[in-house]
Symmetry: C2
């Protein structure tokens, strides 16, 4: 095997990860102070007021349990709304070190560099992953611009070069994606579940995966969107002989008697190999 087959290392990136924080406890320190402070310093477009609010939404979308510690005075309206609706737990005071007990992740958005650094140090002592807003060296991770469509998440990072461009690229990606791509992915997930029911044995794992790959490669996203439960039932008949019918044939099966005999011709089946 020659060396040129192996991709070259391209440093300078981040390790982009889908962090699993379902039912984990996330502590958000501050809920609006950054906003007021930066506004005082002269920004007029209001962008920072969304720091705490945006992060709270990020972690709620990933099913985390959230505690917000922040004095009520000066709370960002969206944060106040999440508190009022009971979407987050709330402690109406400034941060205290005991707030870190049993916490899995810490996000801060407070306008006090010393307090921020102190929280960062405590997090590192306790090995808690943390992001101190606006202080890149005191962050285990950065956020990016995320497009969401059902089970699909697309995250754009410019590695700090241009946060605004990340939003522009994210919007351009969202515009160019097929309308129902989230739905198509949901359908594939459903098909995978149905397949696991008809072929549950663990040792069939590789065969199941190989067949799902054939299906994913054989149909367009538009085809997958169009697929209903009846189509999936029909499609699953092709798992045992390890074949995948062309999508037109699959749709045609609904209206015709299908005798289950396969001629194996390339005109009918796709996704070989």
């Amino acid at each position: 095997m020659s060396e040129e087959q192996f991709p070259e290392v391209q440093g300078g990136g981040s390790l982009i990860l889908a962090w699993q924080i379902k039912n984990k406890r996330v502590l958000v320190v501050g809920g609006g102070e950054v906003c007021r402070a930066i506004l005082r310093r002269g920004a007029t477009n209001g962008w920072p007021s969304k720091v705490a609010a945006g992060r709270i939404l990020n972690v709620l979308n990933a099913d985390a349990k959230v505690t917000v510690v922040s004095p009520r005075d000066g709370l960002n309206p969206e944060v106040a709304y999440r508190i009022e609706k009971g979407q987050v737990d709330y402690v109406d005071r400034k941060f205290e070190p005991s707030d870190l007990d049993n916490v899995d992740m810490v996000l801060t958005a407070v306008d006090d560099p010393e307090a921020s650094s102190q929280i960062w140090k405590l997090c590192k002592e306790r090995r808690i992953a943390a992001n101190i807003a606006d202080v890149p060296p005191e962050c285990d991770f950065y956020f990016g611009s995320v497009h969401r469509d059902g089970p699909l998440q697309v995250m754009v990072s410019t590695n700090g070069k241009g946060p605004r461009l990340a939003n522009i690229v994210r919007r351009s990606i969202a515009t160019n994606l097929p309308d129902n791509v989230g739905e198509a992915i949901e359908k594939v997930g459903k098909l995978r579940q149905m397949l696991r029911k008809i072929a549950p044995k663990p040792e069939e794992g590789p065969k199941r995966m190989a067949w799902m790959i054939k299906v994913s490669d054989a149909y367009s996203l538009e085809d997958l969107c169009e697929m209903n439960e009846e189509d999936m039932e029909a499609l699953l008949q092709f798992y045992a002989p390890d074949k995948v019918p062309r999508f037109g044939c699959l749709k045609a099966m609904k209206n015709e008697a299908f005798d289950g005999s396969f001629d194996g011709s390339f005109g009918f089946f796709v996704g070989w190999g």
Copy 2:
């Protein structure tokens, strides 16, 4: 402020993060055994042989220091190549608990469920972030399909519904992005650096950021790609008066004497507000 202004929580996602592991130590346990084992179980397309190799490349691309612990026998050729080239440190034996000393992240790809679970438990005791390949409940994080273009990283996650579709979506996104978007982002990063030199005061942070936003919004990605250092120098003349010339005007400045007087008309400047 009415409630409808606030985005609804849409659970079921992951928290997608750009993890910072530059100069952090990542331990990779195993370097090919999964491959051989799954191949033994009947898979024929070779997909799993790339698990350890793919992850090692992921973390090297993020400038991590990598240690691979795996018996030399059965090493994946790409992993062997990285070892031979000195891109990773290597320990030629099975995992031992002391391997976790001073480690910031652990990735395993070993075909021994009991050994894997043991490593997971040790990581949790020591609060080390870990991903046990092929065992979703024993993962602090999942990987997605990543497109890279210089400083730009786009990560596609289907939240486990369809890994193959994630690749398809990623390829479709890469095809639709402007050819030099990575370069455009690099240019904006460069402009930001140059701006920080001519306006270094911390209290100008909000003004710098507001102006960079105007620039990012005023020019197309294609415009940004086309910008050279001379154009950037010209553009920076517009920072003090807080204006952004239309791109055509900016390019024209190279060939014409420019007297620096602004008429403030909307025909000439863009990005107000």
